[in-house]
């Protein structure tokens, strides 16, 4: 993973209504969302969003419905035009792009996966997977090879001749992912891609995505309302509320140090033992004294508890890439399992 910024969103505002420009002045003057709706009849979609997304990382944008997360992701390929602000992709402000350049961006740089799949119902699975390349004008023989390869990769080998409606929801979304991968773009936008699926299938798809990501290292922007999903996938987690970013950062960090009551509420019901990893709760420094064993810094707490057999008096040396980096007391671990209560 490099530290290169792939996408930067700078001071992005979106106001829905008849005259968003003039409403923007009020918002900049500090008017709240409810006040704006009441006095000006404009809806504040996004307020002052600043997010940096690094190349090769999964950035998860999480929020409840109405928090503006789907609006935000549509600004990245300008399916929605912002009221003000900048969206930089590879250092270029895409809001200055003309029609042709924007089309190139959508064809080559970004691909998108949708909550409701958005497959073409009258085309076969294979044609759907090859849609991005066909749109670019690639010959059928050439894009079919690519499409078939990616269908194979997402587990739909041999189903290319079926129509989308003949597949289950999970399989349709696999086609959606294959379509995005076939376009060979560096950025994948995933708008609640797994929200419409059954829980079990959703877990499968998350595993598939992680597997693909370990192999391909795309820059993925993933929208979800499910915190478990967010924590599972995110390298960088952005939490939206009422169109504004409440907190963003490393997911473990957000879980351990929620910055406001809204997020505390959010993280309360999480299975912390499964999500938290040893490196987030250990004490750094050389391991002194007696230890009962060695654990890896990427283990989650659940597996440590399993190793200890539930005994409270254990102490473990934490190893990262073969070197000791810290020590973990079971008592520290237990404290980390209890969410920090407000007040």
């Amino acid at each position: 993973m490099s530290d290169k910024l792939k996408i930067s969103i700078r001071n992005l505002y979106k106001i829905f209504g008849d005259n968003p420009r003039s409403a923007l002045a009020d918002v900049l003057g500090g008017m709240s969302k409810t006040e704006l709706l009441k006095t000006r009849r404009h809806v504040l979609g996004l307020r002052d969003i600043n997010v940096d997304m690094k190349e090769g990382e999964i950035t998860v944008v999480m929020g409840l419905s109405g928090s503006g997360k789907s609006t935000l992701i549509r600004h990245l390929n300008r399916l929605i035009e912002p009221t003000s602000g900048e969206v930089l992709v590879d250092g270029e402000n895409i809001l200055t792009f003309g029609e042709t350049k924007l089309r190139e961006l959508r064809r080559k740089t970004m691909s998108m996966v949708f909550q409701k799949f958005g497959l073409l119902p009258h085309r076969t699975v294979l044609d759907n997977a090859g849609m991005a390349l066909a749109t670019q004008g690639v010959k059928r023989a050439d894009y079919e090879v690519e499409a078939r390869r990616w269908l194979e990769r997402v587990g739909l080998g041999g189903q290319g001749r079926q129509y989308p409606h003949q597949l289950s929801g999970g399989m349709q979304q696999r086609v959606g992912i294959a379509r995005a991968l076939t376009s060979n773009s560096g950025i994948m936008l995933m708008d609640e891609a797994f929200s419409a699926l059954d829980p079990l299938i959703r877990t499968d798809m998350q595993d598939l995505l992680i597997e693909l990501q370990n192999e391909l290292h795309k820059t993925i922007v993933f929208i979800t309302h499910d915190l478990d999903e967010a924590l599972k996938l995110a390298d960088h987690l952005v939490i939206l509320k009422d169109g504004a970013v409440v907190q963003q950062g490393e997911p473990q960090d957000i879980l351990l140090n929620p910055s406001d009551p809204y997020i505390e509420d959010f993280v309360r019901d999480i299975n912390r033992a499964r999500v938290l990893r040893v490196r987030s709760v250990m004490q750094e420094g050389p391991a002194e004294g007696e230890v009962s064993g060695e654990i890896s810094d990427t283990d989650n707490l659940e597996s440590v508890i399993a190793v200890s057999g539930g005994a409270m008096d254990r102490r473990y040396r934490v190893m990262a890439e073969g070197k000791p980096v810290g020590v973990l007391d079971m008592s520290t671990l237990m404290r980390a399992l209890v969410p920090r209560h407000p007040g």
């Binding site: 399916l79 998108m112 958005g118 073409l120 119902p121 409606h165 376009s183």
Partner: protein, 354 residues
């Protein structure tokens, strides 16, 4: 009648009224009759003293005219309209005649083609077309039975004439209707303009717009009934094309946008294919309405089964009218089944429809 005369007197308009009357040249027949009637009215009014409230005549132009000569009669209105139309007619003809001439040719050629081709060639061709459109043996069988019946009862030529007119008119309806519907679906303003016109075409009884058409074109020309049929039948295909394209799933359109499709790629690759079931439903309706109109158009010299129905009505030949009417029903069923079968084929090939 006297009551309105008093009314004009009360308004102080008597002078203006009589002034208008003074300008009247030689009396026309209608004026004389009006006078006679007013005389009779006055007599029956009893005493001419204005009569009672119950005798108050209709507040119509004719009655106002009786009271006040300056006000025109209703007859003048219709004559005025007629004169205006006739004076505009030549100018209209210069524009419309060349524009619609191809329609006359097409109708004439098609009528000639379908009646001049020997029956043993024509019928197999029609059955083949049915097979290619519907791909269903039962539909082909139905068509064969229906056309067979019409042939046996000597209505073959009339049926071919009717079919020829329907084919030409429905083809032209689709040719213009589908692009118009597509344009409407992409522009809200155009939709706002065209929708009332379509509403009008749909609600106007066919008899009503036959009248100006008769004046505009010569009754001997096929385009007269061609235009009448097209105007009547084009509505559903336009409406359903517009509707079909507007109903295309927004998520699919968004996906098409997100992958950088041009609007042309979207139209031909996504919108039209997905709207096709609706467009075909429109074509089906258009064909059925052409059939309905081709019967009425027999009043203005459209050949075919309609002529026989008309003969049945005019000469009170019950049997002729009934057989021809039954032939029309058969044609209607055949055309409907064939187009529905092709519609079903489209639906199956992309039963995206949830």
């Amino acid at each position: 009648m006297a009551s309105y005369a008093k009314f004009f007197d009360a308004l102080g308009l008597r002078e203006w009224c009589d002034g208008g009357a003074g300008g009247d040249g030689p009396m026309s027949m209608a004026d004389l009759m009006a006078q006679a009637r007013s005389g009779a009215g006055g007599a029956s009014g009893g005493g001419g003293s204005g009569g009672s409230f119950w005798d108050l005549p209709l507040p119509s132009l004719n009655n106002f005219h009786d009271a006040c000569q300056a006000i025109p009669q209703t007859r003048d209105l219709t004559i005025g309209l007629e004169r205006a139309f006739l004076s505009a007619r030549d100018a209209l003809r210069i524009v419309l005649d060349p524009l619609t001439q191809p329609l006359s040719w097409m109708l004439r050629e098609m009528l000639w083609l379908m009646t001049a081709t020997p029956w043993f060639i024509m019928l197999p061709i029609l059955l083949l077309v049915t097979w290619f459109v519907a791909r269903s043996w039962s539909v082909v069988l139905l068509v064969a039975a229906s056309l067979g019946f019409l042939t046996v009862v000597d209505h073959y030529t009339a049926a071919m004439q009717t079919l020829a007119i329907i084919f030409v008119c429905a083809f032209i309806c689709v040719l213009f209707g589908v692009p118009l519907g597509i344009a409407m679906s992409r522009s809200d303003r155009l939709q706002r303009i065209v929708t009332p016109i379509l509403d009008m075409l749909q609600t106007l009884p066919a008899f009503v717009y036959l009248i100006p058409l008769i004046f505009l074109f010569s009754v001997t020309e096929p385009k007269l009934y061609g235009i009448a049929i097209i105007l009547y039948a084009i509505v559903p295909v336009v409406r359903l094309t517009d509707l079909g394209i507007r109903l295309v799933d927004r998520d699919v359109i968004e996906a098409a946008n997100a992958f950088g499709m041009t609007s042309r790629q979207k139209l031909f690759g996504v919108q039209i294919p997905l709207a096709l079931p609706n467009i075909m439903a429109g074509v089906n309706q258009t064909i059925m309405m052409s059939l309905a109109m081709v019967v009425i158009a027999s009043l203005v010299s459209a050949p075919g089964l309609g002529v026989l129905v008309l003969r049945g009505i005019r000469n009170l030949e019950l049997g002729v009218g009934l057989i021809a009417g039954f032939g029309i029903v058969l044609l209607a069923i055949v055309l409907d089944r064939v187009t529905k079968a092709s519609l079903a084929r489209i639906d199956v090939s992309q039963s995206s429809r949830h």
